[in-house]
């Protein structure tokens, strides 16, 4: 068989294998290095700091774990969160992330390497991303072969969809969860392929680790049963499936209940019933197989029909009865909101207000995945062509993940691994085809003489410059030879001729890959590497200007207020205040108490007038109130933009006192200038944001840069709060709550007196009371 380019012939197969392994190991090493390196932009540009909001809580918890040991962490009751309700951290957190950091910390300290816990937390995500690349390699190796695996590892190493949640400093559950996801899936596929209970057990152990690490474990809990069910419906039940699924389910479910936060949910909630149902179904089908081997087919048919019908009826009624009686909890709100996108906005405004829960816009697919997004369907179709058991899994995963990624931006993360895998399969198939040096013989010349001219033009194409027409004419050739019903000889009748064809396609592919790398690096550096605690902007001369208002304010709180001063702010900033300012907060990002009290109370306090808000503040012992105001700088993530969510959430609990339409103008606009409604102007949030803002502009009208509206010349006045601190760019404003008046007056009158106004004369209080007849 002729080859397009010469191959060395004096190599033994073992040398080839060894060299290939060496190259693979080197490639994996380089991919890991690239994965880690591309996540370090934030550390290099700014500093080694924990980003965002949620990671600050994880960091605090890890500090407790590292300094006081595991049992103290397990029993940790945090009295400074959700003051004064406190938070039982041990039972309301997924401990996997903190436990991992704790283990690494102790391990390093056992070797007398005194690494600070903060550095471990910051660099954990890049480290685990290297492991994710390796896990994806193993997974794709099962799908196709090692080369596809390497491509998949490279893709997931640098793709922005995954980087966004795993940069250095993003110390969140997803940092280790994606690694565990891929590795659990790998163990599952391996268990399925080999039918070994060892891999099933391994899958169950890593599933347990995943349950301990991330709330998204429910995805695995439902993916694997759906896969098993599909295989059974396709008629592919086999003992291997039985062994793999049962060993995974039995050990995995039992171990997942060890995590206190999960508790008894796996046998109580609807989200886990699917796995249980498939488990039961598998037992039945396995038993049926066993019976079939001992019976004639007709008897078996009868028995089977009867028992299946009975089982189905009993099972359905049982499930409905149990749900009705309350033994099995119905679907939770978060899952409803995945199916009905309007559900959350009506019933659970807290879930709808989180920015990560908004539906995904089309451009973000391209930004996060670039060329992978159009290779992805090609890969899925290739899976259809092969359709072994593991390919069914990839197909199901792709379909499900695509739907969910369209519903919520946050779930782009679960789509990313399968996109990497299938696009790697597609891309690797392409490269395989064009790297394959074999090319068909020229025997078609004689056979195709009788065919039409296009054929003769195609055959001697060693020197032909036609690129893609080469492929299409070979297909045409194929049709022609089939039409002439000539059986093909020893050599293939279709293939790719010539080095030039190959070169063009390969060079094009490499070009696309380098564009991909370029895109990923650019997106990572510019979009996903900001710590969001520190903002950066460019000066007119191009140099970087750091806006450090948040930390400035938090450290002011830390150094200038008593240790037990309670701070009230909107829940977004709770974790950061707890982490950096180290003060008790009223509500934080955990948002567990979303229906009654606390978050709604804070919302009510922010949106009511001072007189109504003051008793709430005193009841909760609030000493300081913190608001974020972006009007001076143009920072659009400030509290006035989030204000309507506060109103909505408060309205959910106090619909008679707070109505959302009151905060709009009669024409229905959301204004903050002199046309703002009176409820808006009197609300605590408005007053705190714009207090003394008008003074900044030296006589001209103040301009709110975010809302693009001109403020009235006279700003609001505050009677019940004193301004305590405003950061450099007015982004963070802190107010102190005044204590009750010395003489027992209400503070508004007290203020009026202090400014010299005289009180009106009044008559004596009438002591007469109506005598009941």
């Amino acid at each position: 068989m002729s080859t397009a380019y010469p191959l060395p012939t004096n190599l033994s197969t073992t040398t080839v294998t060894n060299t290939a392994s060496l190259l693979r190991i080197v490639a994996l090493g380089l991919i890991s290095a690239a994965a880690i390196a591309s996540r370090l932009f934030a550390v290099i540009n700014f500093e080694s700091i924990i980003h965002e909001f949620d990671p600050w809580f994880n960091y605090r918890a890890t500090r407790v774990l590292a300094s006081q040991g595991f049992y103290e962490f397990w029993n940790w009751f945090d009295p400074t969160a959700w003051y004064p309700l406190g938070r039982v951290v041990g039972g309301t957190v997924y401990p996997g992330l903190m436990a991992t950091s704790g283990v690494i910390y102790n391990f390093l300290h056992a070797f007398h390497l005194p690494v600070d816990i903060r550095n471990i937390c910051v660099l954990l995500a890049p480290g685990f991303s290297a492991l994710t690349a390796w896990a994806t390699y193993m997974f794709t190796k099962e799908m196709k072969d090692e080369s596809a695996g390497l491509l998949a590892a490279a893709f997931i190493g640098i793709v922005p969809g995954y980087i966004s949640r795993s940069v250095a400093g993003s110390y969140d559950n997803e940092a280790i969860a994606i690694f565990l996801l891929m590795f659990t899936f790998y163990c599952w596929i391996k268990a399925l392929k080999t039918g070994s209970a060892l891999f099933g057990t391994l899958a169950a152990v890593f599933y347990f680790y995943m349950v301990a690490a991330w709330g998204g474990y429910a995805f695995i809990t439902n993916m694997i049963p759906v896969h098993a069910l599909t295989l059974m419906l396709m008629g592919r039940f086999s003992s291997r499936l039985y062994v793999a699924y049962c060993s995974w389910y039995a050990i995995g479910t039992l171990s997942s209940m060890q995590v206190p936060f999960v508790g008894f949910q796996p046998v109580r909630t609807s989200e886990h019933m699917g796995a249980l149902g498939v488990f039961g179904l598998l037992q039945i089908v396995a038993f049926a197989q066993l019976a079939r081997s001992h019976l004639s087919s007709k008897q078996f048919q009868n028995l089977l029909t009867v028992s299946v019908v009975a089982m189905g009826v009993v099972g359905t009624f049982g499930f409905i009865a149990l749900t009705y009686m309350g033994w099995i909890a119905p679907w939770t709100g978060r899952f409803y909101s995945l199916w009905d996108t309007g559900y959350a906005k009506k019933y659970i405004p807290i879930i709808a207000s989180v920015s990560e829960h908004q539906p995904t816009a089309w451009p973000s697919f391209f930004m996060d995945l670039q060329l992978l997004i159009f290779l992805f369907p090609a890969g899925v179709i290739l899976c259809f062509r092969e359709l072994r058991d593991e390919h069914v899994f990839v197909i199901i995963y792709s379909v499900v993940a695509s739907y969910f990624a369209g519903v919520m931006v946050r779930l782009m993360l679960t789509l990313t691994p399968v996109v990497c895998v299938s696009s790697a399969v597609a891309f690797s198939s392409l490269i395989d085809t064009y790297l394959d040096p074999t090319q068909p013989e020229g025997e078609e010349e004689s056979e195709a003489d009788s065919s039409n001219g296009t054929n003769t033009a195609a055959t001697p194409s060693k020197k032909e410059k036609a690129k893609k027409p080469a492929a299409s004419t070979s297909a045409l050739n194929d049709i022609v030879t089939a039409a002439t019903s000539q059986s093909s000889s020893k050599s293939k009748s279709k293939g790719i001729w010539g080095l030039d064809t190959r070169l063009i396609v390969i060079v094009n592919a490499i070009g696309m890959l380098s564009f991909f790398v370029f895109h990923c690096t650019w997106v990572t550096a510019n979009a996903y590497s900001s710590p969001s605690v520190v903002l950066a902007s460019t000066n007119p001369d191009g140099s970087q200007h750091i806006i450090d208002d948040f930390r400035e304010a938090y450290y002011w709180l830390r150094q200038n207020t008593p240790q037990d001063a309670v701070v009230m702010s909107w829940w977004d900033y709770g974790y950061q205040i707890a982490g950096m300012a180290d003060r008790p907060t009223l509500v934080d990002n955990n948002t567990w108490n979303n229906s009654k009290s606390h978050i709604a109370t804070v919302g009510k306090a922010m949106s009511s007038s001072e007189e109504v808000a003051y008793p709430i503040l005193r009841k909760h012992d609030v000493d300081y109130v913190l608001v974020i105001f972006g009007g001076l700088l143009g920072y659009s993530g400030d509290d006035i933009n989030k204000f309507l969510w506060m109103v909505r959430i408060a309205q959910g609990v106090w619909p008679d006192e707070i109505q959302e339409p009151n905060y709009f103008t009669p024409q229905g606009e959301y204004r903050v200038d002199d046309r703002a409604s009176s409820a808006m102007k009197n609300s605590l949030m408005y007053k705190m944001s714009y207090y003394r803002f008008a003074e900044l502009f030296g006589g001209n009208n103040a301009m709110d840069r975010v809302r693009q509206q001109t403020m009235p010349k006279v700003g609001p006045t505050l009677d019940y709060l004193d301004e305590a601190f405003t950061s450099e760019n007015w982004i963070v404003r802190i107010y102190q709550v005044r204590k009750e008046d010395l003489l027992g007056r209400d503070l508004k009158s007290a203020n009026a007196f202090a400014q010299g106004k005289k009180k009106k004369k009044s008559k004596p209080v009438s002591r007469r009371k109506a005598i009941p007849v």
């Binding site: 060892l198 171990s255 046998v267």
Partner: protein
Amino acid sequence: MSSSNSSPSAQSTSPQSPILSLWKAYTQNTSDRLKFIDTFLVFLMASGVIQFLYCVLVTNFPFNAFLAGFASTVGQFVLTASLRSQVNPENRSEFKEVSPERAFADFAIGSIVLHFFVFNFLG
């Protein structure tokens, strides 16, 4: 073993004979070793049923203990059933990479992990 023969009363006499012929074929065709595995399976199933009845009829108060005990029987049952299917000579074609010795080793490891979790959850 007999799962739902209470319902098909409308059927003809043939439901009886599939069960009987099933039993006959079973006792004849299976080897002693597989029968031994099957007795263990029956024992596990009985233990699980007893625990389940206790939970439903008397009290489910220490629910974690119930789950631990019940899950230990169920888990052991499926592991043993897996072992049985892997050891069964009829299934050799399916399990190319798993020899019977390897099957037992997997079974042992799985059971040990299972028991570890069970005892952790029990108390």
